[in-house]
């Protein structure tokens, strides 16, 4: 059995194109998911009972159905209602929806973990809620959310590989394409495994650096 490096170097352009697509699809879905997740978290906490039930229903549906099935549902069920998405749009919608449910839970947990006494203390000092939110709650929420958001980003990159089943030209799909031409699964799968690994390791390193610079007090205390 031999490992033929030439297969990788000959097809690096296809793999690079896949990697770039994976990165931009995730980079676009992440902020959309975070924005929707933030709205969902607020709705669930302060939106009243009816809204809370609808929101938690949505979150439970996303969390308890495999991502692959969600993708298939988007792709096959929406056309029944006259909505036809191309594979890339469907991917971004699926990833954003997926991320939004998890972000909503992360943010809710963060907001709930801050004791009510802090808000009350703020009122007692004569501060208004927007100020309390900005200056007391937000800095703490960021500390909770940053590590969770990194994990979510890494999860999103990994889940995006499933989009290859929709023929989205991301890294895994491009790899299968190259293998179809070269019959070299060993080399190509090794190459993309290393690419994914490098990408996620880079993200972890980036967050550790961010945490050290944004939240030095938390790191110093050994909270994480």
């Amino acid at each position: 059995m031999s490992f033929d490096l030439a297969v990788i170097t000959d097809n690096w352009q296809a793999l690079a194109k896949g990697l770039v697509n994976t990165i931009w699809i995730c980079a676009l879905s992440l902020p959309i998911g975070l924005a929707i997740g933030t709205v969902l978290a607020f709705l669930r906490l302060w939106g009243g009972k009816g809204v809370g039930i609808v929101v938690s229903g949505y979150i439970e549906l996303i969390r308890n159905i495999p991502f692959l099935i969600q993708v298939f549902l988007l792709f096959y069920v929406l056309p029944t209602f006259g909505v036809r998405l191309n594979p890339i749009t469907a991917s971004i919608v699926a990833l954003s929806a997926y991320a939004s449910a998890y972000f909503a839970e992360i943010l809710r947990g963060a907001l709930q973990s801050i004791s009510k006494g802090q808000v009350e203390a703020g009122y007692a000092l004569g501060l208004r809620y927007p100020f309390i939110f900005r200056k007391i709650l937000m800095p703490q929420v960021v500390g909770y959310v940053l590590p969770a958001a990194t994990n979510m980003t890494i999860t999103l990159i990994k889940e995006s590989a499933i989009l290859s089943t929709l023929t989205v030209p991301e890294l895994t799909y491009m790899a299968q394409n190259v293998i179809g031409r070269t019959f070299a699964p060993v080399e190509i799968f090794t190459a993309i495994a290393l690419l994914y690994w490098g990408l996620t390791a880079l993200l972890s390193a980036l967050t550790r650096w961010l945490e050290r610079h944004l939240q030095p007090h938390l790191v110093a205390r050994g909270a994480r």
């Binding site: 692959l68 495994a193 390791a201």
Partner: protein, 218 residues
């Protein structure tokens, strides 16, 4: 709009698919648990090289998509070791290799909550390492680590849907097969989604119950 008449007729096949999903996940989980003890041992090894290999393995599994790991086990591994796996075996192997890394992390977390004094107490009572682990440490470890372990099983049930790409006929593949017979993809995937939701919601309720119990005991 929706016409479930033919799809509902296939319900026994869907249920059989769900059964395969659960069995494959359970098999992957059990095998993964065994492998996770190896990783745990490697992580606390005296030799730096073995510790490094353990950390490398965990990092690799956590840093690459499961679908790529499945392809590696199914397409690459046979070439490396000269053994051809049928899809079902490759699928179980991929799931167990994946869950082993996560289970090892869970067990490591559970271990840190057992005071070192217990090892010392066992030693001073003249108990050997095997008795100490089997009778004292592991029972506590499992009690500490049960909620996250059930959660990991839930993740595995979700992950097993990806095995459909290597033609393991679990629930997702069953839905695809049925869609090819009935020509009604939306209905087939809606039924599969409902079955997944029922199974996974049930397990996440158990996790929540266990977590609440664990908090009360503390």
């Amino acid at each position: 709009m929706f016409d479930f008449s033919r799809t509902f007729g296939m319900l026994p096949q869907f249920l059989a698919g769900a059964g395969v999903t659960l069995s494959v996940s359970l098999a992957g989980f059990c095998l993964g648990l065994l492998i996770s003890f190896l990783i745990l041992g490697a992580n606390s090894s005296r030799f730096r090289v073995i510790r490094f290999l353990g950390a490398l393995y965990t990092s690799f599994i956590r840093g690459t998509p499961l679908i790529v790991q499945i392809f590696v086990v199914y397409y690459v591994l046979p070439g490396l070791i000269g053994v051809d796996f049928p899809p079902l075996m490759a699928g179980i192997l991929a799931l167990s290799l994946n869950s082993a890394a996560f289970l090892a992390e869970i067990l490591r977390g559970g271990l840190t909550r057992i005071p070192v004094g217990q090892f010392e107490a066992a030693k001073s009572l003249g108990l050997g390492p095997i008795i100490t682990w089997v009778k004292i440490i592991i029972p506590q470890l499992f009690r500490n680590a049960t909620p996250p372990m059930v959660n990991e099983f839930t993740m595995l049930v979700k992950a097993s849907s990806i095995l459909s790409v290597i033609t393991v006929v679990e629930l997702t593949r069953t839905a695809q097969n049925i869609m090819n017979v009935t020509y009604r993809p939306p209905e087939a995937f809606l039924v599969a989604a409902t079955l997944y939701f029922i199974m996974l919601f049930f397990f996440s309720m158990i996790t929540r119950r266990l977590e609440a119990n664990a908090q009360v005991q503390r």
